[in-house]
Subunit: 214 residues, 2 copies
Amino acid sequence: MANGVRDQVLEDSRADILRAAAACFMERGYAATSIDDVARRLGATKGRIYHHFHSKTDLFAEVFRMGMDLNYEAVEPFVHREGPALPRWRSMAMAHVMQMILTKPFQRAVWIGVEMHLRGATTPEQRDVFNKLIAYRSDYGRLFRATLLQGRDEGVFDFDDLSITNQLMFMTLNSPIFWYTERPGETRADTEAVAGQVVDYALGGLMGTREAEG
Amino acid sequence: MANGVRDQVLEDSRADILRAAAACFMERGYAATSIDDVARRLGATKGRIYHHFHSKTDLFAEVFRMGMDLNYEAVEPFVHREGPALPRWRSMAMAHVMQMILTKPFQRAVWIGVEMHLRGATTPEQRDVFNKLIAYRSDYGRLFRATLLQGRDEGVFDFDDLSITNQLMFMTLNSPIFWYTERPGETRADTEAVAGQVVDYALGGLMGTREAEG
DNA sequence: TGATGAACATACTACCGGGTATGTTGTCAA
DNA sequence: TTGACAACATACCCGGTAGTATGTTCATCA
């Protein structure tokens, strides 16, 4: 128990690797990122990375998991709030979008992982690792589904196919991972304003077109 | 001029390669797709591909261009229609979404290309090739911007930042390239129903949340 | 009919990247 | 003090891949 400091150093080293890996995966994608790239970014060599992670797949999986952990942590406080759907949905959506912005590299890795799974571009060994990650991610998605359904029952949301709507909503809420870049001198309020626009757009989509005629 | 048949055969062969390449890029991404993969899918060898394309980058660029050509072809007829913004926007959006669905492999390649450009994950030689492709894509984006602004002036659209809204709209309209899969026995009407939901969601986002309170 | 070239296939090279096997160094515990 | 182990670095192997160099076949045309 006297080696609490050692454990902390260990965790710091691991965390540094995860951050560097997330950045690399974001910048070049999974396949185009080499272990040497990650090591170079740290001013280290492959040895350090393979000392902490079994394989490239394992490293990527841990980045993915970290991203999802961050999401859960941010959104979960709002999930079990009683009351009408709309304010709860707004809180969850806002927390989600802020996470997309603030932890972008990890969230991009999550996206890449989902894409790889959808494409089936995984080897048999990767299979079960990925299946667990995707299951994790699906659980997270379910947090929103209940609120979506409640909102439709309450008449505040208006949509046809839940599955498609869920896809569209997440596509909107996730989209900052692709186009958001921090402005120099940007404050928390600025960031929240951007996130607010994203949430409003998503909400508009969920509410439907109403009386509009095209 | 007697070799019209020959030219046709040539174009068919090229087109076959492009289709196979688009499918491979969609399934595995750019980096993870090898020229041998594309050749295997055609029951051919690298020789055939390198006979028609200088490099992997060149092949990818042509797939990208083909995808954008298809989009222009589908949307352009509606762009210059006079009258209010909403019906024109709806026609353009619908045409766009249908293209996303019907030519998904090519559209995924376009997406991949944009991502690669954003990440700057391109070698100097690729630079100018990609810059032209991205410029092509940006022109296409501009087709929608005018209508968005007109719609806001007319009061039918309600959004704050044009740039962000444009991103969100395209993210929505493009999203079927990720989650759409053809159902067995699906008719044209079925497909259009799916596309319609996408367009409606996007329209809701553009119209804003109106009188809703969160 | 023979020559020419398009449209490929085959064979090869050079390099890169995942993974491993083997040092090296500092730290802590007994 | 020493031995053991964590935390790396170094050196190496090997499979895969972009690109090339060189056949081979067949249609067309002079």
